[in-house]
């Protein structure tokens, strides 16, 4: 871990770095959460738990029920059914106490256009029993020079960073961040990711809602894929990638062309694709060995052999497609 400056983020001292212990206590537990708006079911049956110190991602398409889930967890909406537990509190009944311990950054929220950045931080600091040092937080998030600027004068990225400052101003144990990087340019997004990791390293558990696969892969210890109001997969991003695809892809460059039918004749191979000078062989089993041996038998050399890991994005598409297919099968 690169030396992080003393950020003074909230939470406990002990930085939890590296993998999260499996037996870390659950700080959020969601059981059979259900929420409907009139006839529209936003969240059907969602179950997951978040362990202390991890970055937990909630992934899903627009309208999958992600925001409703975190709004229920934040005590903003009343669930129609199910059980929620956040740090031993019921988000609905103990909302005040919960808000002391959980910092929330929501999508559809804003500040008055003519409030100055410094004033907003000071105002929000006054809401909490043990506020963090606002000026210090502004410095950490690179908003030092914007302290005197009106909220409406900030760029999208600056507004998001201010939003993170406000979510952390109460020194929360958990930060819920909804679509944090939506609308940011790639550079700003990457910077935000580093900030999130910095927050986590200070011992704050993070619940991150996103629809960016890359973001989830990069940041999250575990993710829950939500579709049609249900969790359709849960686990570390890498595992989900493997879980989703049984097929493997081997990409290579050959010194000379081997006829496709030779490769296709192999039991391990299901398809052969040409991408420019690259050859991509798709199949299962011990695919690399089979392909390399086939080239060897033909007296050719396979160069630059790479196996392509299937990404979380593949997993996401495969899983949501499967969910759609099931839904269609049920006559929806």
């Amino acid at each position: 871990m690169a030396a992080t400056p003393d950020t003074g983020f909230g939470g406990q001292k002990a930085p939890t770095q590296g993998p999260i212990a499996i037996d870390a206590p659950a700080v959020i537990a969601v059981e059979h959460l259900h929420k409907a708006y009139g006839a529209t079911v936003a969240v059907d049956d969602v179950n997951f738990s978040v362990r202390a110190g991890e970055i937990f991602g909630i992934l899903g398409r627009n309208g999958a029920g992600k925001t409703t889930t975190v709004e229920c967890l934040s005590g903003l909406r009343v669930p129609d059914g199910g059980h929620l537990d956040v740090l031993g509190l019921d988000p609905r009944k103990d909302a005040r106490e919960l808000h002391e311990l959980v910092g929330v950054q929501l999508q559809e929220s804003a500040l008055p256009p003519k409030i100055r950045v410094g004033e907003a931080v000071e105002l929000y600091a006054s809401f909490y029993r043990r506020p963090a040092d606002g000026n210090h937080l502004l410095g950490v998030l690179g908003l030092d020079e914007k302290r005197g600027a009106y909220f409406r004068e900030l760029s999208g990225g600056q507004k998001q960073r201010l939003s993170i400052v406000l979510a952390l101003i109460g020194q929360p144990q958990i930060a819920i961040l909804d679509e944090l990087t939506a609308g940011l340019d790639p550079q700003a997004r990457r910077e935000t990711w580093e900030l999130i990791e910095g927050v986590r390293d200070r011992g704050v558990t993070i619940l991150l809602v996103t629809h960016f696969m890359e973001e989830a892969e990069r940041l999250c210890n575990r993710v829950a894929l939500i579709d049609h109001g249900k969790v359709i997969a849960l686990g570390p991003p890498a595992h989900l990638g493997e879980q989703a695809s049984t097929s493997k892809r081997v990409r290579l460059r050959a010194s000379d062309q081997l006829p496709d039918n030779v490769l296709e004749a192999l039991p391990e191979v299901s398809a052969v694709e040409h991408h420019g000078t690259d050859l991509v062989v798709i199949g299962s089993g011990d695919l690399v060995t089979a392909v390399v041996l086939a080239f060897d038998r033909a007296g050719l050399v396979a160069e630059d052999v790479r196996t392509e890991a299937s990404t979380l994005e593949d997993a996401f598409l495969a899983l949501t497609d499967a969910a759609d297919a099931t839904a269609d099968g049920l006559g929806r």
């Binding site: 909406r77 006054s126 029993r129």
Partner: protein, 402 residues
């Protein structure tokens, strides 16, 4: 009980203080607000005070001058503008923009923010009324044998009544726009009974009697009497106190800051207040054609703006790539009634949507009715000129009466 105690704990008090300070700053940074809250009442006072004939005592005003009798009217107007127009629209915009939403994730409830808004508006009202008294007394020799105790009581009751009505509007309206529509409907009658269009003393008996029972009329009477050194009378005080109690109670009972509930309710109110009617024209009709037809067909007191391509958000559904044509129809110079005419071509037909606007309901409705009639004629003319498809029912020409 514990929340009640927590609400007044020292840390909470700090939060409330910061909220009020922030709202004060925001109000101070809104020039239009300052002009309306402080500038206009004093300006009117200065204008009336500078016209000699208005400062002469008149028998019909009960032996005082127009200037003297208009002073309490200005005070009531300050309360109407701040309590009825400004407060609900501020609250609506906080709700719309997600400011309340953001705040409801903190330990301090969003209602504290609304409380701060009420406090700041009341503070500005008191400052404005003090300015009226100060400027009137200092610059224009407005000598008022003020009954101080009764004046303070009358003012407090008037504030409670007006802000109570304002909070009821805010409770119903989810957005600033709806709040302004409702407040706009109430503004004219309330302003009338406060004597804005002339002292009620000059109106014949019945109007004066109604005014006694109207919230602003009672407020005027109470302030006028106490400023003149009299006891306002139990009826007036009682009426004002009743309005204050009833509206404050309704506001407290019904007010919901959360987004979820208020949206559906405001949708219903909006549907009630802004009328939308559609007319289908056969074939492809351009915005210019509709605009020309409206220009020729409507009486000359209506202004018809040429059709423009709609840019930006349409009824909150995002930007439409091929923006429809929009024509604005207004009633001449006053623009008191307005209609927005949207022309959308789809599936071989042209759909024209007429949406009412403006400040006064009945004139807005009459604009919609007239536009609709002209478009109905246009539809018939077009249907006749076109080769009628098979069984195109040629409607018998309806003679509509005005």
């Amino acid at each position: 009980m514990s929340t009640f105690v927590a609400a007044f704990s020292p840390s909470r008090r700090r939060a409330y203080r910061m909220l009020v300070l922030t709202e004060l700053r925001l109000a101070w940074r809104t020039p239009s607000y300052l002009v309306v809250a402080l500038g206009i009442p004093v300006l009117l006072l200065v204008i009336f005070g500078s016209i000699p004939s208005l400062t002469q005592p008149k028998k019909e005003f009960g032996g005082v001058s127009f200037f003297t009798i208009y002073t309490p009217t200005l005070m009531v107007l300050v309360l109407i503008v701040l309590g009825l127009l400004s407060l609900p629209s501020q609250m609506g915009s906080y709700r719309e923009k997600g400011v309340l939403h953001r705040m409801s994730t903190t330990p301090v409830p969003a209602s504290a923010l609304l409380g701060a808004q009420v406090a700041v508006n009341i503070l500005f009202a008191v400052v404005s009324i003090a300015l009226i008294l100060g400027v009137g007394g200092g610059a224009f020799n407005l000598v008022l044998p003020v009954q101080f105790g009764w004046f303070v009581l009358s003012l407090a009751l008037a504030v409670a009544a007006m802000f109570g009505i304002g909070l009821c509007i805010a409770a119903f309206a989810g957005t600033a726009r709806v709040a302004l529509v409702i407040a706009g409907l109430l503004f004219y009658p309330l302003a009338f009974f406060s004597g804005m269009y002339g002292p009620l003393a000059v109106y014949p008996g019945v109007v004066g009697q109604i005014a006694e029972w109207a919230p602003t009329g009672a407020a005027f009477n109470a302030l006028h009497a106490s400023l003149g050194g009299h006891f306002p009378g139990w009826t007036t005080v009682g009426v004002l106190a009743a309005y204050a109690a009833v509206f404050s109670a309704i506001a407290v009972r019904w007010f919901r800051w959360d987004v979820e509930r208020s949206r559906t309710r405001s949708g219903r109110v909006l549907a009630l207040l802004t009328l939308t009617r559609s007319v289908t024209l056969p074939g492809d009709v351009t915005g210019e054609q509709v605009s020309t037809a409206l220009h020729d067909g409507l009486p000359s007191r209506f202004e018809v703006e040429p059709a423009t391509k709609f840019k930006g958000r349409l009824f909150g559904f995002g930007t439409e790539p091929a923006g429809p044509d929009v024509i604005l129809v207004t009633t001449g110079t006053t623009s008191i009634g307005r209609a927005q005419v949207t022309v959308v071509r789809a599936l071989g037909d042209t759909r024209v949507r007429i949406r009412s606007g403006g400040q006064v309901l009945y004139s807005a409705l009459s604009v919609v009715r007239k536009v609709r009639r002209v478009l109905g004629d246009l539809a018939e003319a077009l249907a006749e000129s076109q080769p009628p498809p098979a069984a195109s029912a040629k409607r018998p020409k309806e003679k509509e009466h005005t």
